[in-house]
């Protein structure tokens, strides 16, 4: 027992002396230490900030696409759906479904004459029940002017960008021409902003009844637009809809496959490229430790002659590498936190214009931070172990002779 206790104390002492020497080396070579710390910190910062912003932009893109378009589209393969009220009840009874909105999607030409002269443009016409839209897709929250509480079925909602292009005012009348050359006069009741530029420039939302009349479809719809509590359960819910109603389904993932693939490719390439910076940071640690080992060659010989084992020597340099690296990671994470926080709250005009954003979105998970930290530690460990091993393997006599 007593012997074990003594042994244990010895282990503690050994690690203390190695820390003691490593600390001295680091403090005596402040400039090299700072360079190593900065190198690692910059690598971590670049990676963290770019992942944070890329995630944010991705999420923002997905959010805006999904802001007024549905998560699952259920159709009867292009056939008109007449029992849509019944199907709507069935779908809404599925767990995880927030609401289903019967909809006719068609295209037409919008005509308007106002202060900017007459305006003609093709538009996407979504015919749907405004009450359903309120509960299922929270459309009322997207209204930026006017109201969606309409009194007549000829009142409609218009995208904000389109509204601005027309130079129209609330209550103005426009004419919509259908593909069959039927005309209908509608009144602007409200303006919506989805956050997705494409929708805001080309879409109008019209009461279901009006579109049914415009397109001669009778009391039918073309699709049921399903909204979910969790957008990432779309595949699962789509399967259940198929079983329950025998309808065909497409999820938002299917509909935006190219865009999502592009986003994911972009992010992968970005992470790969910025990982190179982390590797370079590891290289900086390697070079600085190698320099240190070279500078300290004779001191290593002296320490060996005092009875330091090669393990002790190895530990000293490993501690130095890992300390510099870890400190760099901490500094890098702090800087990243600061930058992301600043960017989040202070929009940069040029970027926000291109991306149609009010703010730069930032999104980073603790898992991603953990991966960044772990990858850095692995790289720093690898960059430290070789110089440390070299130091440990020095021949004592040769090291003592070294100038």
């Amino acid at each position: 027992m007593l012997y074990n206790f003594g042994n244990r104390r010895r282990v503690i002492n050994i690690s203390m002396i190695e820390f003691f020497i490593a600390k001295k080396h680091i403090l005596e070579r402040k400039r090299q230490s700072i360079i190593a710390i900065l190198g690692v910190a910059i690598g971590v910062t670049v990676l963290t900030v770019s992942i944070g912003i890329a995630n944010g932009l991705d999420k923002n893109m997905v959010d805006s696409i999904l802001s007024i378009s549905s998560h699952v589209v259920a159709t009867k393969d292009g056939e008109a759906i007449d029992d849509y009220r019944e199907l709507q009840t069935q779908i809404e009874s599925i767990k995880g479904v927030k609401g289903a909105v019967p909809q006719i999607s068609t295209q037409g030409i919008l005509k308007y004459s106002g202060v900017f002269g007459s305006y003609v443009s093709g538009v996407k016409i979504n015919g749907l029940d405004f009450d359903d839209a309120k509960t299922a897709m929270n459309l009322d929250k997207k209204i930026v002017a006017g109201t969606m509480d309409i009194k007549k079925p000829t009142e409609f909602l218009i995208g904000k960008e389109l509204f601005n292009q027309l130079g129209a005012k609330l209550g103005d009348r426009i004419t919509v021409v259908s593909a069959d050359n039927r005309e209908m006069h509608l009144t602007i009741a409200g303006v919506f902003q989805s956050g997705y530029y494409e929708y805001d420039t080309t879409m109008i939302i019209v009461p279901l009844r009006a579109v049914q009349i415009l397109s001669y479809t009778g009391d039918t719809v073309t699709s049921l637009e399903v909204f979910l509590d969790d957008v990432y359960s779309a595949e699962k819910v789509a399967g259940q809809i198929q079983i329950k109603t025998n309808m065909s389904t497409r999820t938002w993932g299917d509909l935006n496959r190219n865009l999502l693939a592009a986003l994911s490719l972009e992010k992968t390439v970005m992470i790969l490229v910025f990982s190179l910076i982390v590797i370079i940071a590891g290289f900086v640690v390697w070079v600085i430790l190698n320099m240190l080992v070279k500078e300290k060659t004779r001191d290593i010989g002296i320490m060996r002659s005092m009875g330091f084992s090669s393990k002790n020597i190895m530990k000293i340099f490993m501690i130095e590498g890992l300390f510099l690296g870890s400190f760099g990671i901490v500094v890098g994470l702090s800087i990243s936190g600061g930058i992301l926080w600043y960017v989040k709250d202070n929009a940069i005009n040029q970027i926000t214009n291109i991306y149609y954003l009010n703010k730069i979105p930032v999104e980073i998970t603790s898992k991603e931070i953990l991966v960044i930290v772990a990858a850095n530690i692995v790289i720093i460990f690898l960059s430290s172990i070789f110089p440390a091993y070299k130091a440990a393997k020095l021949e004592v006599v040769e090291a003592l002779k070294y100038d």
Binding site: G6, R9, R10, N13, I14, M16, I17, F20, K24, H25, L27, E28, R298, D299, I302, M303, R304, S305, M306, G307, F308, S309, S310, K311, N312, E395, V396, V397, L400
Partner: protein
């Protein structure tokens, strides 16, 4: 009672490279008793330092045995050798070889902090005592660059003594000092030997230093010869 603390049998060491093949130590035998102060003289290149490195287990012989207190260390595992070196030996080199980042006190403490059952406080107390004995009580916190040559060498001697080693090995301890300072170091070594019954082996080409030792050996052609007055 045999008081042989170090015994060497048939030690051989040769250096080989493409051009040369030099037999530095040739079936060398040697022994030293506790408390003896021994010097080894020789021309430069005669293998004095190699001899000292062999005793100090800094280098391995090609063949032959080294016994410390009856224990054969030439076959010991390297981790054991590190421990032996720490506990049984103290080195003094020609160029003080103090670690530049550490103060005089820390330099003396370092060997005491390796693999010891002593606490930092105990080691610090002992190191302070040693430095005070060396008349360096007011230099404890000075870095090596702030000390004179003689002071540095005295710190190095204190460092060699911190673990109360069985043997102190000194390689030209005054080779780099002026005459007056050398005198001080010589007196110090003799004093240590007398007062602490400390075994000391010095390798030197200084006859002055050799003259104060109990025994003098001459290293020629890879063998040691006792010099008789």
């Amino acid at each position: 009672m045999s008081d042989v603390i170090l015994k060497i049998e048939k030690l051989n060491k040769r250096y080989k490279d493409k051009k040369r093949d030099i037999q530095i130590l040739n079936d060398l035998d040697f022994e030293i008793n506790r408390g003896e102060f021994v010097s080894v003289l020789g021309k430069s290149g005669s293998g004095k330092t190699t001899f000292l490195n062999m005793i100090g287990m800094l280098d391995r012989p090609d063949s032959g045995n080294v016994y410390y207190a009856g224990q054969n260390v030439s076959v010991a595992h390297s981790s054991k050798i590190d421990l032996l070196r720490n506990e049984m030996l103290g080195f003094i080199f020609q160029f003080h070889y103090l670690l530049p980042e550490f103060s005089a006190l820390e330099n003396v403490m370092l060997p005491g902090l390796i693999g010891k059952k002593k606490t930092r406080e105990e080691v610090k107390k002992r190191a302070t005592e040693l430095l005070t004995e060396m008349q360096l009580g007011d230099r404890l916190d000075h870095k090596p660059t702030e000390l004179s040559g003689g002071e540095k060498q005295r710190v190095a001697i204190a460092r060699a003594m911190i673990n109360e080693p069985k043997i102190i090995l000194a390689d030209e301890p005054t080779g780099n000092l002026d005459e007056e300072t050398s005198e001080v170091i010589h007196d110090l070594l003799r004093k240590i030997c007398r007062e602490k019954n400390q075994t000391i082996i010095v390798v030197t080409h200084s006859t002055e230093l050799a003259s104060i030792t109990d025994k003098r050996y001459h290293l020629t052609k890879g063998k040691l010869e006792l010099v008789v007055d």
